[in-house]
Symmetry: C2
Subunit: 438 residues, 2 copies
């Protein structure tokens, strides 16, 4: 390379894929989008750059540090760091023009200038759905969310998965009844780490927050309640907890479980798990996490929950909602690391049409048009190279079929169709080509 | 609004759509993507943020002024301002891992901090395809590009359109033969404005650049050559121009025309137009513009051309290519301004299932599942409201069908299916519901 060339490269923490992986990534993206739309969620595509004053109305701490913020002219602007704040701003801005409940999906890149490390990205896709009501939002939506998750992961087909559910009212009510109303935030954040740091460390942390030893034991026993969903609900109802909030939460959980069954979600796919707290203060009711059963180390691949107030920084209107998010870039990275991304070749086309010489180019275009006319992707190899190189190219890109056209084939309106996996080949009439490569 | 609320708003020059328009926008996006894939183009999704050193290796002048550039830590970074520079960087970076010819599409947002004005955006989608060869790239690709454009605009169905083609070799050869080899850039940029500023102003500008009056007349007569494609080619061949480059260009045009016919592109959809110059220095052969016949004021809605060297700032490898680009955000804006975006309602669902009371919720979920199971988007109205409000919501979102479920329908496993456009309604069995709303 000449010394005056710039070295072509991107920054660490940014994912860029080779075509083969990009195709697999897009297939996942398209599957998620298809399921979201099937449940009636409307598309939204907010601006990537927003006014810092608007985007950071609520932010603080870590978020503020990670944000890409800059000036252009006199304007202080930032790249979005999630899709929830833009949704809040959008709904507050356009409330009069939207129909509520407002169900939207957005599947876009967000930006966080974190310290780059394995599996963490600075630019990544979030695939979000949220339902927003005005003043109230029916609890059926708390069941619709996991029903959507269920169908997404069914169709993504990466093996068995479990949607773990809880309700913040259950936890908050329980801790309030124990006399720790002022420590709930600290307790929840500690609980959230139970799986990660273990029982002993949680005990230590809770003690540091001033939770009495007897209560620590009680709390950990409570969180350890296990069983099928009906058994857990039974156990929760049987606890003597002096809290209205607690009882409301338990009945909400019971309602969500009953609706989930009506949504046709398999019983094995969802479970009440009292250790699911979701660190954010934001959540006020049902919360979810989703695990791939065979890959617990991936952590939650789809999380979310119910909140009372979406847009309080922008409007006095009460906008309760519920939402979930799939971090697709990270999920794709983890699936690939675990060998779960099947290689399907660096090829969109189902068939590569190969004219043996320039004289067969017209016939090749006719053949390709016949395939494309049926809505099937096809490509033609146009470069003037030897047949050996042409076939080598076909093998390299991993195209399922090659349609070879020599003098005889062109004269007979046929192709020699080669199945690139089995190596078998046979003549096929142009008129039947689309069906043959489908 | 309380005084401590932040006013929810976005910056001027950023397009954000209401759901109804977003659905129409996505339909266009999906159509373009589908056609691109049908021709075998591979997806690419480069990083939004790149190192300024890399992204601006070539830039200068206006581009550099418009760019969103900032520092995070010690790193000088910028948002991409087009998709061609990232493609060049990507191909140079991954040349050893790609198969050539490398056909890729990218349909992503790019960012330019222009002065905002009507119809100009600071954040907008470009929908690009390019084919890149190593050392050489067959001229068939010069015909494949307009064949793809043709199919895109056929399927977008915004009325008749014309792909106007030229070849820079024809123009360059012609001006060289007249003795203006050193003024070609100025002459081309002036010609490019012919339609906009008129013949008289072009004459004046050319004279200012030192083009002799006799030559100005000659040039304008040359550019005015019109007729069907064969007639224009005939006229071009008949010109006495002492330039090998010119003759090469004319024969390339003739070849592209003959291939376009083989690609099945209607003769009425493409025309040789010598006034098409494309201002950029970058182009070296075939160039295109595309006009919607009934909306000439929109200007070109899809442009591109052939270049000799994609990535010379990053690599010594010779990477000739050809590409086209659709500025989708601007195109959508213009189509909407011209009343060409059909209103289809703020609704993805084909059918809204409406339980009359809470007792019919189970039946409603079953009905929705039946529709979704056939891959058809459906929604359920869950909020506890009166029937009047539920039907008002259905009318407001513009859903094609409403499936109403009362006590009788639930008992009989049916719905009362209402066609929201005609107002007709009749009972339909759950088992036949998906077919009925398709």
């Amino acid at each position: 390379m000449s010394t005056n060339k710039v070295q072509p490269r991107i920054m660490p923490g940014f994912m860029e894929l080779l075509p083969e992986d990009q195709i697999a990534f897009n297939r996942m993206y398209d599957t998620i989008r298809r399921v979201y739309e099937r449940y009636g969620f409307l598309p939204l595509d907010t601006a990537t750059i927003e006014l810092s004053e608007v985007l950071l109305a609520k932010a603080g701490g870590e978020t503020e540090k990670q944000i890409y913020r800059f000036n252009k002219g006199d304007t202080d602007m930032s790249l979005r760091f999630d899709l929830t704040v833009p949704l809040a701003r959008y709904v507050a801005q356009h409330a009069g023009e939207l129909s509520f409940p407002f169900k939207r999906y957005q599947m876009s890149k967000v930006f966080r200038g974190e310290r780059p490390q394995k599996g963490r990205f600075r630019e990544f896709y979030q695939c979000d759905i949220d339902v927003i009501g005005v003043d109230s939002l029916d609890i059926v939506y708390d069941a619709e969310m996991p029903a959507v998750i269920y169908n997404v992961f069914k169709e993504l087909a990466f093996g068995a998965f479990t949607i773990r559910m809880n309700n913040r009212k259950v936890l908050n009510g329980y801790f309030e009844a124990l006399g720790y109303a002022d420590k709930i935030g600290d307790i929840l954040r500690t609980i959230d780490k139970l799986e990660k740091i273990g029982r002993e460390n949680v005990e230590k942390e809770l003690a540091e927050f001033g939770v009495a030893a007897a209560d620590v034991a009680k709390i950990l026993d409570f969180l350890a309640i296990r069983g099928d969903n009906d058994a857990v609900l039974e156990a929760l109802r049987g606890q003597s907890v002096d809290s209205e909030l607690y009882r409301t939460g338990v009945e909400e959980l019971a309602t969500v479980v009953s609706y989930l069954r009506r949504f046709g979600v398999e019983e094995s796919a969802f479970i009440i798990d009292l250790t699911i707290a979701r660190g954010l203060d934001y959540y006020t009711g049902t919360v979810f996490e989703t695990m791939l059963n065979d890959y617990p180390s991936m952590g939650s691949v789809c999380s979310g929950g119910r909140y009372d107030s979406l847009a309080e920084y922008y409007t006095d209107q009460k906008l309760p909602g519920i939402g979930i998010s799939i971090g697709l870039t990270r999920l794709f990275y983890q699936l690939k690391e675990n060998g779960l991304i099947a290689s399907t070749g660096a090829c969109i086309a189902r068939c590569l049409v190969i004219p043996m010489g320039d004289e067969q180019l017209g016939a090749a275009l006719t053949a390709a048009s016949a395939i494309r006319g049926a809505g099937i992707p096809a490509d033609v190899y146009y470069q003037s190279k030897g047949m050996k190189q042409k076939m080598k190219y076909a093998a390299k890109i991993g195209v399922p079929f090659a349609a070879i056209i020599g003098e005889d084939e062109a004269a007979a309106d046929t192709v020699m169709l080669k199945n690139m996996q089995t190596g078998e080949q046979s003549p096929v009439a142009i008129a039947e080509l689309a069906d043959a490569v489908k």
